[in-house]
Amino acid sequence: MGKINDVSLIIGTANGSGSQSANLILLRSMFRMGIPVGGKNLFPSNIAGLPTWFVIRASEKGYTSILPKMNIVVAVNQQTCDDDMAHLDTESLFIHNSSLRFTKPLPANALSVDFTKLASQVTDSIKLKKLLTNIVYVGVLAEMLGIPDDILQKTIGDQFNNKKSVVDLNIAAALAGREHYKTHIKLASLWKLESRQHNVGKILIDGNTAAGLGSVFAGCSFASWYPITPSSSLAESFESYCQKLRKNNNGENNYSVIQAEDELSAITMVAGAGWAGARAMTATSGPGISLMAETAGLMYFAEIPGVVWNVQRAGPSTGLPTRTLQGDILACAHLSHGDTQHPLLFPATPEECFSMAQTAFDLAERLQTLVFVLSDLDLGMNQWITNDFTYSQKPFDRGKVLSAEALEKAQQFNRYKDLDGDGIPYRTLPGTEHNLAGYFTRGTGHDESAKYTESADVFQKLLDRLNKKWQTAKTLMPEPVIDVQTSSLGLIAYGSTDSSIRELRDTLLQKGVKTSYLRLKAFPFTASVENYLKTHEKIVVLEQNRDGQMRKLLLQEFPEYAVKIKSSLSYDGWPTRAENLMAGVL
């Protein structure tokens, strides 16, 4: 008998060849078997014809981190078939299309399957044959691993929207693969899948779709954006969900989406919309963040709410647009010149991408400031099992906005006066029909009534009040997830690396090393972060960037504990692999 529900496989194809849907069918079938599984697409910054890999890991424990060696390697791409063998270890199985020409010797466990020929049995069309080749390997793998046919067929149906002609062809191709395995290969697989109940109440989804949907449910009514990988699908999913869910009874749009001419305009439109009273957002990645710096500073200083989704990719500069990093932590925390600071949120799962949308807008409007949600390519574009999303009953926090009636009662209004001692002033929206409502928003120095001033005293007080607001923010930011198991070694991480950290901790435990774990959800840090630092002898911050950016923020904020705060870093652009972070911990 083989290992049950513990298999890693990698499929090497070319992008634009239709392999993506085949891979998703395979992945979703496993998910529907109730097995914890994750799927990661390693694609090139290119539209068609270059190498792409898809990695699937099924694990009873829910680990999704990519392992150094794969159990099964499927090679379909001539360009990479030699190199794909590097993923093999002695036990691994190497399944390759018979048509591939290798320049290296094949491993012992190589299995040649003529995917192309099998596909030909199903169709005569050259174009279709190419696409169906992919489904054939799905059939082979399904048979080998033990994926039930009903699940596979239903998943194929769903993938192609139950469009009969397409579905039938694909099912036939899958069956051809299955049959081939059954009749010709007959190998007893070392790895087997068995149905489980792990995925009850769960969904399989990518973070960008979750964030787009979340933004609809979070009340966002304005989005302006400029296309950039890997954030485009977030904006696009927001728009398409709006089309479905945000029409009024007359079929009119209760939302607006503008594709801006660049990121300068995208964020600046958000500033305009936030100022006017809408929940407004943009989605971008590295280069876009850089271009948004000036307006981000304006929004901080003039106190305008807005949300930026930063789906991080590998930088600096254009970097590797289709690889992942957590590299914009410092850039976002201080984006713009001067003493500027921005709250950051760090979703770790699609579920949090969904729920943090409301958190982000609530905070942005409460604090009257720009809030960054830092996702990344791994979280945003890969497939994760996550808890089914909770429908929020929590009312939107629209913050301190004074209506005409409120102004009438108050009989006075000073836009930038701290009436409540929390550093947060009141605002009015343009169009408010009241004599007191109007004020003049500016990025220049201003007094409490928003008038221009160069008074040294007033200026310093303004900066101090903004800082007071920052202190208030610390009490409003989401609390970290903390699991204390020891006082000797405390790990800190954030965002998409969470599942890798879980695996890493288990491995450490097996080696006899107990760890505590704090997963940050936000910057500025809440008091519990300080407490965690205080109560652990050694702290290791695990992150996916070269410079230990989150560690730097921790050092800045908590110099008292700086000595004991170390880094464990991984920054090659691949999704975190648990073992890459191990060295830094021990």
Binding site: C220, Y241, S256, R279, F396
Partner: protein, 349 residues
């Protein structure tokens, strides 16, 4: 003829029962004699005479002496003195989520034609409903008088340098990009400017008004093509303009065959009396471009309304939003129900 104006003149109050002073802002801090102050003044006249509701106005600007002027009128309105070159996108965001706002933007030639050129062009493409005023002095006033991109070829700086680059003609550019209302005027020409502003305020798309506005401190010397003297000398109005507010029964009766009338969105009329032989049909963009092209060769400042297209769909139309502005939507409009969530998630199970 203009009832609003007449009424206002006699009673000292307009239709909203507001005095001209209700349209004023804080005291200008510009150099005395700055063209921008005249524009402010003419704008106040236009707003007052047209009984614009101050509470519904959003005053937008970028950064520059010109951009400061939004503080000098309509202190009852909200204003947004944003970033250098970013007036267009800020206004876009605000207008989309609240189309009830009457957007009045004041920018400079540096703000629009230099740093803000990209955003300006794209706003025009989208036909954002907005009065977009450029207070054009050919220099960066606030940073002490360097050339901007509208400085004319051969114009000199106070310190002597000569501009060697071709000037960007913001009117021609706007027409080329499909702008639906394009005019040029001179800061001091109230007779021309006020009717233009009043009709622009009734236009349902982007109304670009390029106003030559001399900088008394840095561009009023001999050699500056945008000095008061030069502008007066080179200013060639195409038409004599008149504005007629909408009344129950408008009886337009012109003997003069040389006068054309165009009707604005709200029913008000702009009358254009030909005073220059070249005055063309303002609905003909091609002709407008030709007229501007030729006048540029002559180094004159042709002023007047160059192009008007009532029909072209604006951004707000394109977005198919409800009558009520998005900012008035409540939580129940904005948050779909739980069933919608469950339905949406079905495909991920």
């Amino acid at each position: 003829m203009d009832t609003a104006k007449t009424e206002a003149a006699t009673t000292g109050k307009n239709k909203l029962n507001m005095a001209r002073a209700d349209y004023a802002g804080s005291k200008s801090t510009l150099c005395s004699g700055c063209g921008h102050d005249s524009i402010t003044n003419n704008l106040i006249s236009a707003l007052y005479q047209s009984s614009i509701n101050p509470y519904k106005v959003a005053k937008m600007s970028g950064i520059g002496c010109s951009s400061k002027t939004t503080a000098y009128f309509l202190s009852k309105s909200h204003g947004f003195n944003s970033l250098h070159g970013r007036m267009a996108p800020v206004a876009t965001g605000a207008k989309v989520v609240n189309p009830d706002l009457q957007m009045i933007g004041v920018s400079g030639d540096g703000d629009t034609a230099s740093i803000g050129l990209g955003g300006f062009c794209h706003m025009i493409r989208r036909n954002l409903p907005m009065v977009y005023i450029i207070e054009n002095n050919g220099v960066y006033g606030l940073t002490k008088g360097q050339f901007s991109a509208t400085a004319d070829l051969g114009s000199t700086l106070k310190a002597g340098q000569t501009n060697q680059f071709q000037s960007i003609d913001l009117c021609a550019l706007s027409i080329e990009l499909g702008c639906s209302f394009v005019a040029r005027s001179f800061s001091g020409d109230a007779k021309q400017l006020v009717p233009l502003l009043r009709s622009a305020l009734q236009h349902n798309g982007t109304a670009v008004i390029d106003i030559i506005s001399p900088c008394i401190t840095f561009a009023n010397h001999n050699g500056s093509t945008k000095s008061y003297d030069m502008v007066k000398e080179l200013n060639v109005p195409l038409q004599e303009l008149g504005y007629i507010a909408p009344t129950p029964e408008i009886a337009v009766d012109y003997a003069d065959g040389e006068t054309k009338t165009i009707q604005m969105h709200d029913g008000s009329l702009l009358t254009l009396k030909k005073v220059d032989a070249r005055a063309h049909d303002v609905s003909d963009a091609k002709q407008a471009l030709s007229v501007l092209f030729e006048s540029r060769q002559k180094n004159e400042f042709l002023t007047g309304l160059f192009y008007y297209n009532k029909a072209s769909a604006n951004l707000i139309d394109q977005l198919h939003m409800p009558q009520a502005p998005l900012i008035s939507l409540t939580e129940s409009d904005l948050r779909p129900d739980e069933a919608a969530l469950r339905n949406s998630l079905h495909e991920f199970t």
